[in-house]
Each structure stands twice: as C-alpha cells, then as structure tokens.
C-alpha cells in the first residue's frame, strides 16, 4: 500500500512493559533467524568431516561459545513465551492494562527462568 504510515521511532514513546516486550519480541525473532542459520551452517560443517567439526566444537567449549549458546537459549525462550502471550491475546484475553503488565513481566522473568531450566534439563542436571 502506497503512503502507508510507518511505525514511529521507538524512542518517541515512554517505555512500558508491553512496549519492551513487543520490541524484544521482534528483536529476538530476528536473532533467532540468524541463530538458526548459524546452526544450519554448523550442520553443514559436519558434512565436511570430523576435523572441520572439531574447529567449531573447540569454539563452543570456550566462554564465548557457551555465552552464545545460552544467549540463543534465552532468545528462543523469550520468543516462545511471548508467542504464547500473543496467542492468548488473540483469543481476546489479557488486554487490560494491569494484565498486559503482569503477562509482560511473566515473559521477561519467565524467559530467564526457562533458560536456566532448559540448560539444567539439557545438561542432565535435572
């Protein structure tokens, strides 16, 4: 559509929990796109053989490698919880100001808790 108005710059409005969750949802969506692409590249490296795989494996065992992995886990967790929030809102629930704040906070803190749980569960600590 021509002359369709664009979203105003994010710094114009006063920040609220709902706007923070909304912009974070978009940012994590883009991060996930690149994260999955990196994982696809990792799989492609495996086709080249064990020696090439070892280069990536060595990197993943460094502090930076683990930090990237945990960041990806958080980004996926945030996206999942935020998507559940969106699906609930699609059914007409949670539009009241207080509820948007509460569900927004659940998404923010829940994503951190979920990241820890996924990490503990994935590493076999739970």
């Amino acid at each position: 559509m021509e002359n369709r108005p664009l979203s105003p710059h994010i710094q114009i409005y006063k920040w609220h929990i709902s706007s923070l969750v909304s912009i974070s949802h978009r940012i994590t969506g883009i991060i996930n796109f690149f994260a999955i692409t990196l994982i696809c590249l990792w799989f492609a490296f495996m086709l080249l053989g064990e020696t090439n795989y070892q280069i990536i494996n060595n990197f993943l065992e460094t502090f930076l490698g683990k930090f990237i992995l945990i960041s990806i886990t958080w980004s996926f967790s945030f996206q999942m919880l935020s998507e559940i929030r969106h699906l609930i809102m699609d059914y007409g629930y949670g539009f009241e100001l207080q509820k948007t704040k509460v569900t927004g906070l659940i998404v923010i803190f829940g994503s951190i808790i979920l990241t820890i749980l996924i990490y503990l569960f994935g590493r076999g600590f739970v």
Binding site: L6, G29, A44, L69, T73, L87, I118
Partner: protein
C-alpha cells in the same frame, strides 16, 4: 480473504506448530552441542530426530519470513528496498532449510 488476514492466520498456525518443535530443539541443542562428532551425527540421523529437525527448520524459516516481513513493512519506507529485502528474506527462508535437510540426509552415509 484479504492477503493480510491470510498472512496473520499463517503466522498464528505456524507459531502454534513451532512452539513444541522449538522447545524440543533447544533442549536437545543444549544437550548435544559439546558431544563428539559421532554422537551428534548419530543424533541427527536417527529417527524421529531427523524428521523433527526438518519440520523445525521448515516452520521456523516460514514463521521468521512472515514475521520479519512485518518488521520490514513497519520500518522500511522505500518500496524498492522493501521489496528487495522481502525477496532476499524469502529466498533464504526457502533455500537454507532445503540445503540443511539435504545435508542432514547425507550425514553418516
């Protein structure tokens, strides 16, 4: 049906399908990222893992293409740049999962 309505329905359906796939994938990624080459190839080539990963890739790129195109719609003013960005996005969203599924199918052969 309006194209925007169709897009919204596709977004919601793919999101619903993607949720359990994403959870399964991230738990397994955390589990296997530091395993040996043989163990990871064994994991990726075993069923149902291979099928689930394939579905995860298809739906996540489909979902990403739809949701990122919304971002382009909201923040890119120039129509030519927006169209080029959307075409590039759609191209990668189709090519990357196909290549990766082929790669996984050829692993361990």
């Amino acid at each position: 049906m309006l194209p925007a309505t169709k897009k919204w329905i596709f977004l919601r359906i793919s999101s619903l399908i993607l949720l359990p796939l994403m959870f399964w994938f991230i738990v397994n990624l955390v589990n296997f990222y530091d395993k040996t080459y043989i163990e990871i190839v064994g994991f990726l080539t075993a069923q149902p893992n291979k099928t689930i990963i394939g579905l995860f890739l298809v739906f996540s790129y489909f979902f990403s293409a739809l949701s990122i195109s919304e971002v382009f719609e909201d923040y890119i003013k120039d129509e030519k740049i927006k169209n080029a960005a959307n075409k590039a996005l759609n191209f990668f969203a189709i090519v990357i999962p196909i290549i990766t599924i082929i790669v996984i199918s050829n692993l361990g052969t």
